[in-house]
Symmetry: C2
Subunit: 247 residues, 2 copies
């Protein structure tokens, strides 16, 4: 079964996703997410075995596997020999509740798993209250996305397959000031960044944000260039915007 | 010969590196860097063929190859069928000249090519005057690094294999205020960011900056977290610092 977790279809069918490595598995355990079982390779190092012992204390089944078998399942080149099969607890975007001061981040069609994961890691660092992944974005539960979040996905609600037009309209109705990161926006966004409820919409580096979503934004903002290049990486942009947002 | 460009050894021996795709090849051509030849696959699309015509105008030899041959050489999964073999013109760090207002960026042991490339892309966006790659950093001419720079490497001097202790001491002697991004630094860096000559030193996410290099810094700075996580991605950190530096 674990072998199917590398594909979106396999993950949808089983309801499980894979979390690899000692540090990420520890974050998973701390998050309280339900874990079905832990795969432990015969070549697992001592750090991995220490974490495995914590899983065992919580009565999570440990399956010891041969190195050869483990490598067929693992997505990681330099694996530590530890892989948890966890059950993702879907958060519905319509159920999200926000405090009087809140920051939300939405991604439209960001298809690279590493970028989506790094955006989520950055959002967790800056205490963002929710991340909404639109329908064309990389799957959160793709092993590459999971790895790039560096555990950030266990620290804030991340909603998948969100119909962004509906969800962003709802955020605006809840008093969020919606800023869209584009290439032709205003370079001054300090008033927006001080909004008690601020929402940031970012798109793919190649295609930007869909016009119908841009049309929902209260304003478009651009990180001004002082040099060369057509764009910034989406996670770098997210970091620069989020560092400025007070929430 | 081109097949050897995927390895550092092959690149060192030939003095060449590979640049793939229509947009990057165009940036390469615009940069004036010497190009030995251009490989054009039989399945190259029209955008690639338009760029190839520009190479032909500059009297650069075009080698047409079968799809099968091209795929053996290309590092890209979804290739456009265009690969330029270019000669890297090494810039010696000791020869760098800076104006009265300048920003320099140094990386210590950042081993992931995607991260190094994205840092360079970000540095180009913000008009950084030079990037110094320390000895443990990913090779600039690795195809993954080249791709991640998105052409940024053709827009500013990037020095490789730099002995950072020497180079940073020299920058300090030239009046650069040297700030190191660490996990335990000051969260207020506006005075440093306004320095007429500012240098930023960043390290790997896993290992940080070597102690002997940290010791050279005038101050250590940290991007304050309002949430969870052990660190930010190095390119995200670079973006947040560089957005604040006026140069």
């Amino acid at each position: 079964m674990a072998r199917g977790l590398g594909s979106r279809k396999g993950r949808e069918e089983s309801g499980l996703f894979a979390v690899e490595g000692a540090r990420l598995c520890e974050e998973l355990l701390d998050s309280g997410a339900p874990v079905e079982f832990l795969l432990l390779s015969e070549f697992a190092d001592s750090a991995a075995r220490r974490v495995a012992a914590e899983f065992e204390e919580r009565k999570i089944p440990i399956l010891e596997t041969a190195e050869f078998e483990f490598d067929k399942i693992s997505d990681t080149v330099h694996s530590q020999g530890l892989l948890a099969a966890a059950r993702w607890q879907e958060r519905r975007w319509a159920d999200l509740k926000f405090g009087p001061r809140a920051v939300a981040l939405a991604l439209d069609s960001v298809s690279d798993p590493g970028n989506v994961g790094t955006v989520i890691r950055t959002a967790a660092w800056f205490g963002v209250d929710a991340v909404l992944l639109g329908r064309g974005s990389a799957d959160l539960l793709n092993p590459k996305t999971v790895r790039a979040t560096m555990g950030g996905m266990f620290h804030l609600p991340v909603c998948r397959d969100v119909p962004l037009a509906e969800a962003l309209a709802r955020l605006k109705g809840q008093g969020f000031a919606l800023g869209a990161g584009t290439m032709d926006g205003a370079t001054e966004w300090s008033a927006w960044a001080r909004s008690s409820r601020a929402a940031l919409l970012l798109g793919s580096e190649a295609h930007g944000i869909a016009p119908e979503l841009q049309a929902l934004a209260d304003a478009r903002y651009t990180i001004p260039s002082r040099g060369a290049g057509e764009s910034l990486n989406v996670a770098v942009s997210a970091g620069i915007f989020l560092a400025a947002v007070s929430g």
